[in-house]
Symmetry: C3
Subunit: 126 residues, 3 copies
């Protein structure tokens, strides 16, 4: 089943859904660029990270999950030297919840952004 983007999240640019969920209640979130909220491709990495993660949270909530039901997050960065910066923002966003995580340095992100993120969560509304 497919889900709508959630508050503040742009509509998909292509042929995909912001998230889908499996019959067992797993929520699969599409990779999110830090689009919106005044973030530009040359905005500081913490701003980009925060915006991408807020998209994740909105999408998960729109699909019947919560911040605490996010099981794993993958952060995509164009410079692994930004690890500490994105970790700090991650802590701000997740507070007491500590999902599983991977931070991967990719060779490039669409439109020239420096951070993107996706996630897996589970539905708590069923």
């Amino acid at each position: 089943m497919t889900h709508t983007p959630g508050s503040g999240v742009p509509e998909p640019f292509g042929h995909y859904s912001p998230s889908t969920s499996s019959p067992d209640g797993t929520i699969w979130v599409s990779a999110q660029l830090p689009v919106g909220g005044g973030v530009r491709t040359d905005s500081p990495v913490p701003e980009q990270a925060r915006q991408a993660m807020l998209h994740l949270v909105s999408i998960v909530e729109a699909a019947g999950g919560t911040v605490a039901s996010i099981a794993k997050v993958t952060l995509y960065v164009t410079d692994i030297g930004d690890w500490d910066a994105v970790d700090a923002v991650f802590a701000e966003v997740f507070v007491t919840h500590r999902p599983a995580r991977a931070v991967l340095q990719v060779a490039g992100l669409h439109h020239g952004f420096r951070v993107a993120a996706d996630a897996v969560a589970w539905r708590v509304d069923r």
Copy 2:
């Protein structure tokens, strides 16, 4: 539980299965290079994308899923500038179904291909 490759998909080159499924019915598909069907490493990106995605579909079907039960696809490209091209092929392959998705620019793919893909789906045969 492990599954066979499915129609038209080459046997694994190494120590992995084309897909496995969890007791809850989730199908985990191994990353697919666009091997076979006359595709070469220098074939146009749309041909590579189509072949990799057809492998995904064959593998999912062999494991008890369907195109519509594909929850998320990750496309790996060596040039993020190919985003529009792979999105167009994605729309051709999935038609009305819109899975969750990530398009990632990796630093290189095995054998020099330009596109690869993996997926998560769920079984509908149980």
Copy 3:
């Protein structure tokens, strides 16, 4: 639910858990660098691969899974030319079990390591 690292695995360096599990019993393992066991960033790739995979196994076992319940592994390498080397270590670690798998060449790994790995598994203790 979050899980402890398991035997021989370093505590997380940042705001994440070694693994989490969903209510359906899926175990999500954080990406593991080959830290510990005398492995350095310039250690041979097979040593790095073995150490990262042993972390995966320890984490999965600490979360209620087994080697045979690992559904999919993603190996991150900084040089796709190391494919054969990491595949050989993979076969040593998994023996008769063949999970689904992706081997991805990333643009860089934290601290300069050459191999990292993450995984999805399921719990067998419930």
